[in-house]
Symmetry: C2
Subunit: 408 residues, 2 copies
Amino acid sequence: MVTLEDAHATLERHWRVQSRKVEVSLDEAAGLALAEDVVSKLDVPPFDRAVFDGYAVHAADTFGAGEESPVELVRVGSVRAGQWPKFRVGRRQCTEIATGAPIPRGANAVVMLEHAITSAKVVQVFRAVAPAENIAERGSEIKRGTRVLRAGEVITPQVLGTLAAIGRKRVKGYAPPKVAVISSGAELVGAGSPLKRGKIYDVNGPAICQAVELCGGEPCYLGIARDEPRSIATLVKRGLAAHDVVVLSGGSSAGVGDIAPVVIDRMGKPGVLVHGLAMKPGKPAFVAVVRGKPVFGLPGYPVSALMVFDQLVAPYLRRLSGLPQAERAKVRVKLMAKILSTRGRRELVPVRLVRKGREGYAEPLFKGSGAITALALADGYIDVPLEREIVEENSIVEVILFGGGAVG
Amino acid sequence: MVTLEDAHATLERHWRVQSRKVEVSLDEAAGLALAEDVVSKLDVPPFDRAVFDGYAVHAADTFGAGEESPVELVRVGSVRAGQWPKFRVGRRQCTEIATGAPIPRGANAVVMLEHAITSAKVVQVFRAVAPAENIAERGSEIKRGTRVLRAGEVITPQVLGTLAAIGRKRVKGYAPPKVAVISSGAELVGAGSPLKRGKIYDVNGPAICQAVELCGGEPCYLGIARDEPRSIATLVKRGLAAHDVVVLSGGSSAGVGDIAPVVIDRMGKPGVLVHGLAMKPGKPAFVAVVRGKPVFGLPGYPVSALMVFDQLVAPYLRRLSGLPQAERAKVRVKLMAKILSTRGRRELVPVRLVRKGREGYAEPLFKGSGAITALALADGYIDVPLEREIVEENSIVEVILFGGGAVG
C-alpha cells in the first residue's frame, strides 16, 4: 500500500508524460492547448485604417482650424471599408472615408464626421488634427514577426479570434489523449442490452468515458471483460495497441480481483508498479506501465471509481492534453454529520450538497447508501487527510466538486 | 437607449423561450440537460446479490456459531458473479458465492470468506449471521417505478452512470439551440482566405462560434455580410430559416451601422425591439424578434462583441439549452490602474490578470490597446455599475472571467 503521492512518483519514474501534437483547422481547435508559439506573418492592421467615419486629410491643411475659423478643403472621391483607394489626396483636398477603410496616399490624418460640414464639393473642417490622428497605422497592433500566443495557452474564443486575425487557417495543438475504457466483471452487461438473470448493467463504462472527456481526453469504450485472464488480456492489449492510456474498472472482488493486475503484470516490463493505495477508497486500485503506456485500475464501486479516477488518472489526462492543472472547483460548506476516519489512512468521502434554510451543507453519503443511489446523489467529495480521525458535525469542510468542474 | 435589464424584459415580452427536446443515445448525452423525469423500469439490484465473497447460508443454521464453536455446513455447488444458480441451498448446507452473484433459493444470508474455513465437502462457520446480512436485496437501491432523476439535471458522469444502471439506452435532453453566427463588414475576409488589399480577417465569427458552444449552443457560421441591405437580408433570412437564434456582429460604424437594424426591422413583426444599450460597450447593439426568433446585434470591436454576447445573448442560450444560469467564474483581485467611468452609464471594462509579487491584479485594457491586442490579452472584464464614476487604483474588484467559465 502506497500513498497517492508515492504512486504518482513511481509512475513518473517509469513513464514519461509525452503529449502528441496535432495540426487542426481553426474550427476544430476550440478547447485544445496550443502546441506552438504563434508568430504573426502579418502586420495587423495590414494597412493604415481610419478609426472613425470622417474625412482623410493632410493634417497640415487643418492647422489653425477652429469652431469660428473653419478650413475649407476640396472634396475628392470617397473610400468605403473593404475598398482600396487608387487615387491620391492632394494638398487642400480631402476624401470621405469610412471606419476601417484604408487611408489613401497623400492623406495622413482623419477629421471626424462631427467636426466637419460638407456641401457638394467643399468640406469645412472645424477642428485641427495632428499627423496620424484617428488612424490605426499598419502593424500598430501586431508587427509581422511578433509572437502573439505562447505554446500551452488554451484555445478560448479570444485565442481563436487572435488566430483568425493574423490569418491562420490551421494551428498546432496538443492531441486529446486517446483513452481506452474497460469495465470488468462477469455480471456486467452493456447499457441498454437485454438484462439476463444474474446480470446487472455496467455503470462505470459510460461514467468514466464522460469523466475522460471532461479532462480533455478522447474516450473509447472497449466494453466488458469477464473476470478471467484471457478476456482481460484481450481487451487490455486492444487498449494498448490503439490508445495512449488504458483505464480498467472493477474486477476487484477478493476472489477474482487480483486477476487483472496479475494478467497485466505479465504483459510486459515494468508491469504493475503499485497495487493498493493507502487511501479509502483505493485498496483495489493499481498502476501499471506496459509497452510504454500507463494502465490504471479503478475500484468497481461507481462513486469510488470516479473519486479515484479524479485523484489518480485525471491529472495525467490534463497533462497529456497540454491543459493546465486548473484549480478544481470547490465549495466551502458546513458538514451535516460527523465523519469518522481511520487514522493513518487518507479518506475520500462522497457528499451531496443540500441547503438548509440559508446555509449550504455537505451530507456524507456513507456505505449504507447503495452504489447507484450514492452515484445519483453525489455532488463531490471531501478529502480527509491521513492524520484526521474525526471531522465534526457543523465544521466547515471543502467539497471538491465532481463534473470536471475546474475554475477558469 | 435602454438598460440591459430593460432590454431583456422587452425581449421576453415578445419572445417566449422555448427549448426543443431531443432523444439521444447515452453516448451522445453527456453535458445535455435532462428533458424528462427519469423513472426506473427496473429494480436495482434486479436480484438479491452477495455483498462480499463468502458462503450463502440459511441464517438460522449459523445461530450460535462463534470463534470457539464453529458450525459445520455441507458445501454444495458455487455461484460466480453473472451466473444464475439453478440449485437450492438446503438446511445445513451452504454454497460458495462471489461478490455480486445472485443468492440461490433457500439461502438468506452470506457468511464472509474470512469468517469460515473450508475443506473439500465441509465449511466451518465461525460467526453467526442474521437473515439478509451481507445481501443487497432486489430493489434495495432503486425500486421499480421510482423517479431517479429530475428534468433539468445536467448529464454529468454520475447522471450518465445512473441512467446506465437502470438500463436506459436513450434519454430525452434539451436540444442545443442552433445559433447562426454572421459577421458584417465589407472589409472582412474569412479566416485563412487570401487577404486582398484593403481587407482584414474576420475575428468575431470564430470567436463568437466558440462562445456559443461554451453556453451549450450549436454554432453555425454563415459567413460575412457586406454592409449593404441585400447581403445582410440574405444571410439573416438563411439564419432564421434553419436556426433558433441569429447573432450578427459588426456593421456598426456610424455610416453603415444602422443598415442591419433597418433591414431586420423590415423582415417581420415585431422587428427591432431595442437599438442601443445604456452600457459601454453596447451603443450599436440591438435586439429584434423576427418570425418568432430572436436576432441579436453585437458591436464589431472583438472584445466588445464578446462582452456584450456574455451579457445579452449567453443567458438565453443557457436557457434554451436547459442549462442552469450557473454562477459565472469570478476572481477578486486588486485594480492596477484607476478606471474613470461615465456616471449614469454602466461600463464593462476588459482586463487582463497579472501577478505582481504575491498579489493578483486586474490591468484594465483601455482603448489604446488595439482590437486584437486587447483580445489576445483579455482574461475577463469588470462590470462598473451605473452610479460609479471612479474605481480607485488598488481597490478590490471582481473580474468576470471569459471562457464560459461557469463554476460547477
